[in-house]
């Protein structure tokens, strides 16, 4: 199986601090992967590099069948290639309705001229309605998203990610601030999403990862410490020493 995303030999330094140190990472076309690691292990920086927010000092990042190099592209270009990102805090456009938020995210041409003359077709509105129903917001299409509860905003953001139809989804701590029931729903959703696309989840919560039941990559000081099933990595003495042993 060829990799969808391939990160090799990437290093980045902030003011002399090596956030990512010769990191290599691969993920296949329809794969679910969890990334864990202590604070400062470079999890967020890793996502920043893949999505184009941070430019690494060295190394390469390639994406897709044709191995398009992502380094040097800006964030919006990378997003158009098919990489979606979900932040830890829900970031929806609070001043706009749920429907407007979803229409913004809907896969379509992003250039200003095309957007200026874009008018919703019946199929687009149907898709928006469908997505909203999928995440339980079917009743709230015309409400301003700022009025939604924290959990609903998380769901709206997930629906927006689905509307983008990304091939790779990067999810930063999805369980933060969710009730136990919502967590369960989230794990189910992530698992089903990973059947058709690649999903990378950064998470602290071990219980959550156990339920995802997927390969786990442990980051430490900017590089991969161990990789394998959750049971495999939790038995790894190195991992116990730097991460689990601290608890």
């Amino acid at each position: 199986m060829t990799a969808l995303l391939e990160v090799s030999g990437v290093s980045v330094t902030f003011d002399g601090f090596r956030a990512i140190n010769n990191l290599s990472f691969e993920i296949g076309n329809a794969e679910l992967r969890a990334i864990i690691g202590p604070n400062g292990a470079g999890k967020t920086t890793f996502m920043d590099i893949v999505t184009g927010k941070t430019r690494p000092d060295q190394g390469s990042v390639t994406f897709g069948e044709r191995s398009i190099p992502l380094i040097g592209m800006n964030e919006s270009r990378i997003a158009r290639e098919g990489i979606g990102r979900k932040f830890q805090r829900p970031t929806v456009f609070e001043d706009q309705t749920v429907e407007a938020n979803l229409i913004l995210a809907l896969k379509a041409n992003r250039s200003p001229w095309r957007v200026l003359f874009w008018r919703p077709k019946a199929a687009d509105l149907e898709r928006v309605k469908e997505l909203a129903q999928e995440v339980g917001l079917g009743e709230h299409l015309h409400r301003k998203s700022g009025e939604l509860s924290h959990g609903q905003k998380q769901w709206l953001e997930i629906a927006m990610l689905l509307a983008q139809e990304p091939r790779l989804l990067l999810v930063d701590e999805p369980a933060a601030g969710m009730t136990p029931a919502e967590r369960e729903q989230t794990t189910d959703l992530l698992v089903s999403l990973a059947r058709t696309r690649a999903v990378v989840v950064v998470e602290h919560d071990m219980e959550f990862i156990r339920r995802l039941n997927c390969r786990v990559t442990v980051l430490h000081e900017g590089s991969v410490l161990a990789e394998g099933s959750l049971d495999h990595v939790t038995r790894d003495p190195q991992v116990i020493a730097v991460y689990l042993g601290r608890g």
Binding site: T51, K53, N74, E75, S76, R77, A79, R80, G84, R85, F87, T91, F93, E94, D95, Q96, A100, I103, L104, A105, R110, S111, P112, V115, L116, W118, R119, P120, G146, E147, L148, S149, H150, G151, K153, M160, Q164, G177, M178, T179
Partner: protein, 410 residues
């Protein structure tokens, strides 16, 4: 989406109806075509106000919707004015020169006419050559194209440089202010080719219409300004009510998130910046023939700051707010600075409106920012019963939903 544009945007219909009524009323009361109840100079003031409303619309699009506080849009306005002023002055001077030279009996050669025009226009700055930038001044169509092309290209290049380096917020405001100041200082020089601090004058005299009275011309320009404002309003309403408006409001609120949705944020900003510069230039083209004179002081940063004040007082992020703010404040400003209001004696000092108007305007601006951030436009929300919750304090977190501290305690 089968409902018509006006059904979805009732405020646009109300606005257009109101503007049409206003135009009709002014026409019927004018000296040119009506009962003569209002003077020609006041018709010109009203026409100029409509042009200012049009720039305010542009300012609202870029500041109220896209969140870019540009303090340089009056530079584009004035550049449009300069470009149309060049043709007006050239063509008008040509008429005078041809008439003067033909008194000798022999028709003048083109060289003589050209020389005569150059001496007439540039004698005041001690030159008798026509600068290269006046090459197209003989032609109205060419100069009209320049009136849009020059400000448009300036905005495109300036915006490209600024947005590409991701300059945002107050730094961008300062940069735009520096741009308008630099242009003003350049134009103040006598050898800039635009008559230095004398500026261009006599612009109210339309070439070929020497016999037509200003009473009539003022009404024509008033109509043209009203039409431009109406078309500008409808265009911008169409722009902001669709997905494009949704994108630029999203950029205002969280531009990083918009990037991760795949939208090229910098291109959108450049698009809006250039579009609004073009609208400002168009307003300038209509404004300066009514004002009659343009000089580099029109490009001073204070002019663009006024523009921001109008939009803030009228209400950002809604088109009619910008129009109301511009009309209200600029008309009030011409009332207070006319010198016709009596001073109010206050013991040892007296309150002189001309001097105190700026202080009042400043206080009004501070008061609006602090107490009514939605400006005058916010009053319409009250009528419609749209009262936003008073959201203060930190979010409570997942369990208590979207309520914020102080809301939840009530």
């Amino acid at each position: 989406m089968t409902r018509s544009f006006f059904a979805r945007n009732p405020s646009a219909l109300i606005f257009i109806a109101f503007l049409a009524l206003f135009t009709l009323a002014v026409t019927l009361m004018s000296e040119g075509l009506g009962a003569g109840l209002i003077s020609t100079s006041f018709v010109k003031t009203l026409g100029k106000t409509l042009c200012l409303c049009l720039v305010a619309l542009a300012m609202d699009l870029i500041w109220g919707y896209a969140g870019i506080l540009s303090l340089g849009h009056m530079a584009f306005f004035a550049l449009g004015g300069y470009m149309i002023g060049m043709w007006l002055m050239y063509a008008r001077t040509e008429e005078i020169v041809v008439a003067a030279l033909s008194q000798g009996g022999l028709p003048a050669t083109p060289e003589e006419v050209q020389q005569g025009i150059a001496t007439q226009i540039f004698g005041v700055v001690g030159s008798s050559d026509l600068p290269a930038i006046w090459s197209f001044a003989h032609s109205l169509p060419l100069q009209l194209i320049l009136a849009l092309a020059v400000p448009g290209l300036l905005a495109l290049v300036f915006g490209w440089l600024a947005f590409r380096s991701r300059v945002t917020g107050v730094y961008l405001s300062i940069l735009t202010q520096a741009m308008t100041l630099a242009l003003a200082l350049y134009l103040f020089q006598n050898d800039s080719g635009l008559r230095g601090n004398n500026g261009l004058s006599g612009l109210q005299n339309l070439p070929g219409l020497g016999q037509t009275s200003q009473d009539l011309i003022s009404i024509w320009f008033f109509w043209a300004s009203a039409l431009a404002l109406a078309l500008g309003y409808l265009t911008l309403n169409w722009v902001v009510s669709g997905k494009f408006g949704s994108v630029i409001r999203a950029i205002r609120d969280d531009e990083a998130r918009v990037r991760f949705l795949g939208y090229p944020v910098e291109t959108y900003k450049l698009f809006v910046f250039t579009l609004t510069a073009l609208i400002a230039a168009l307003a300038g083209v209509l404004y300066y023939p009514q004002a009659g004179i343009i000089n580099p002081a029109e490009l001073a940063p204070i002019a663009s700051i006024y523009l921001a004040v109008w939009v803030a007082i009228g209400g950002r992020g809604r088109l009619y707010g910008a129009v109301i703010g511009a009309a209200f404040v600029s008309l009030l400003s011409s009332l207070f600075t006319s010198g016709r209001l009596p001073d109010i004696p206050l013991g040892p000092v007296s309150l002189n409106w001309v001097d105190w108007w700026l202080v009042l305007l400043g206080l009004a601006f501070v008061a609006v920012t602090l107490l009514a951030p939605k400006g005058i436009g916010g009053l319409f929300d009250r009528f419609q019963g749209v009262i936003p919750p008073d959201r203060k304090g930190a979010p409570l977190g997942p369990d208590d939903g979207s309520l914020q501290e102080q809301e939840a305690q009530q």
